[in-house]
């Protein structure tokens, strides 16, 4: 197994720009994830999931209407 380079001491004067290998090590997980993320496709949504999402959307629209009614009631 390849030996991981030791991190420079925190607070040391050495600039990270001069230690690209260490930056690669520090951010390896992040770059791998970014590369994976770019390939991520939309999830397949079955009928049940779509129905749930639409139901919740109708719920929000209905509730916003109720809030409007409540505000009107309080003003009168």
């Amino acid at each position: 197994m390849k030996k991981q380079p030791s991190p420079p001491a925190p607070g040391s004067d050495s600039s990270l720009g001069e230690q690209p290998e260490w930056i690669e090590t520090a951010l390896a997980e992040h770059w791998q994830t970014r590369a994976w993320l770019e390939k991520l496709e939309p999830m397949p949504m079955n009928l049940g999931l779509k129905s749930l999402m639409w139901m919740l959307r109708v719920y929000v629209l209905f509730m916003i209407t109720v809030v409007g009614i409540n505000v009107a009631q309080m003003w009168h």
Binding site: P20, W22, A26, W31, R34, L40, I64, V67, I69
Partner: protein, 452 residues
């Protein structure tokens, strides 16, 4: 977040070098060094932030006014443990954003668009934008009201609020911004000395937590349900999900940091519960002395507390509302800017400079400036917005919780960090509770005689 989307400054050995990457690598180096040296206290200090910020940020101006109104209307009783329960529910929802952010290294809006497509992404963004703008307006109402107690003019208070949000421009690093905002956010605990100054009956406080009583004397009619819903909205809102996942990924948390992210969130929930309970206890003398507080704003609450908490205590109360507004204006503006950057695929990081991420900083400052300007419009119905903002936040939560739970169970994204059966049961419980509270509120509005 934002890695690879910023124009490189230079290249060296085939690697992209930018200020953002440099800052992120420095932060990760510190974390790795602390972990290797087994300096657990230092590691916790490095990794806490997003959880405390989101929870104390949600103790914003309308939330603190809602807690004050609750204490003044019902005294010490049912609502004290109820608010602790809502923060426990907030923890359940926010813990998922920690895992999502640490695993996917991207924000909530980005994941929703990638996995659900543009239609559902746009719906989620519409909810976020609507609630964020409304909430930001109420933050400036709180800032103006809190500052007004000290004789600071409206225009100066709004300019100061927008100015504080604009300070984000000079931080140039997520870490610096986070620590400065944290220092301000911890001031939310100012409500604890205010509560102590009112000399509450501590036995009654302990009894309220132990027995969940006394219950509201007139049952759970429309006005009590409105306050109940406002208190739920004071702890669980859509912007919190977008902010914490954005902050977790911008901070650069890795999968090995999930435990510390959870501790950070739990610590935030505890501190926020403490501040919220203290605010409620501080206002409870108004209940005991039958003060009509239904139309009170921040300044009126502070003035009404003078006989019970003294001038100093009242001034602390006003300062607390001002601080709550300032912190939330900063975090909510950041959540809007993160979401905008994720949706438009533009650079969006507090580790980037203004020249690297111009649209991110423009949105961050613009939303705050627009909300502040609205507060200055003569005759704008600010009272109605303040009253309704927490309720609207609760009513837009069920779809947000659904997105959250589906993503948390998405094996392709989460892998081994997918939610367990127990966590799913708790998450579904939060979603059902929030939806049922909304339905009870709707019935009480449509049928005014309704009682639980």
């Amino acid at each position: 977040m934002g890695l690879g989307r910023i124009q490189p400054d230079t290249t060296q050995s085939g690697m992209v070098q930018t200020k953002e990457i440099d800052a992120r690598a420095r932060d990760r180096r510190e974390v790795l060094a602390a972990r290797q040296a087994r300096r657990w206290g230092r590691l916790l200090w490095l990794l806490v932030g997003p959880g405390i910020l989101v929870m104390l940020g949600e103790n914003d101006a309308p939330s603190m006014l809602s807690y004050s109104a609750t204490g003044a209307r019902f005294g010490v009783g049912f609502f004290l443990p109820f608010v602790a329960l809502t923060f426990a529910m907030a923890f359940i929802a926010q813990e998922i954003t920690v895992r999502l952010g640490a695993v996917s290294k991207t924000g909530h809006a980005d994941l929703i668009y990638r996995r659900f497509g543009r239609l559902w992404g746009n719906f989620a963004m519409a909810d976020l934008l609507f609630t964020n703008v409304l909430t930001l307006i109420t933050e400036f109402v709180g800032i103006v009201a809190g500052a007004g107690y000290f004789g600071i003019p409206k225009l100066v208070a709004v300019a100061g609020g927008v100015g504080l949000v604009s300070l984000t421009l000079v931080a140039h690093r997520y870490w610096v911004w986070e620590r400065l905002t944290l220092a301000l956010a911890v001031s939310n605990l100012i409500f604890v000395p205010v509560a102590i100054l009112t000399h509450p009956h501590w036995g009654q406080v302990a009894s309220a937590f132990a027995t969940w009583g006394p219950l509201p004397s007139d049952g759970f009619g429309p006005s009590t349900l409105t306050i109940l819903l406002a208190d739920i909205g004071a702890t669980i809102t859509p912007w919190m999900l977008f902010f914490q996942q954005g902050a977790v990924s911008d901070k650069g948390l890795a999968t090995s940091d999930v435990l510390h992210g959870r501790i950070d969130t739990a610590l935030g929930a505890f501190l926020a519960t403490l501040a919220a309970s203290a605010c409620m206890i501080a206002a409870s003398p108004l209940f005991l002395h039958h003060m009509p507080s239904s139309q009170f704003g921040a300044a009126q609450f502070a003035q009404a507390l003078v006989p019970y908490a003294g001038r100093f205590g009242a001034a602390l109360f006003a300062l607390g509302i001002l601080e709550a507004g300032l912190v939330a204006a900063t975090t909510i503006s950041a959540s809007s800017a993160y979401a905008f950057g994720e949706v438009t695929r533009r650079a969006h990081s507090l580790n980037a400079s203004a020249s690297q991420a111009p649209s991110f900083y423009l949105v961050l400052i613009l939303v705050a400036a627009v909300a502040g300007s609205i507060v200055l419009i003569p005759g704008f119905p600010l009272e109605a917005v303040v009253l309704m903002v927490n309720i609207v936040a609760v009513l837009t939560m069920p779809p947000a919780v659904a997105f959250l739970l589906i993503l948390a169970n998405d094996r392709e994204i989460m892998g081994v960090y997918k939610s367990s059966v127990g966590l799913n049961a708790l998450g579904i419980g939060v979603g059902v509770f929030v939806a049922l509270a909304g339905i009870a509120y709707a019935i009480s509005v449509v049928m005014p005689g309704f009682r639980i």
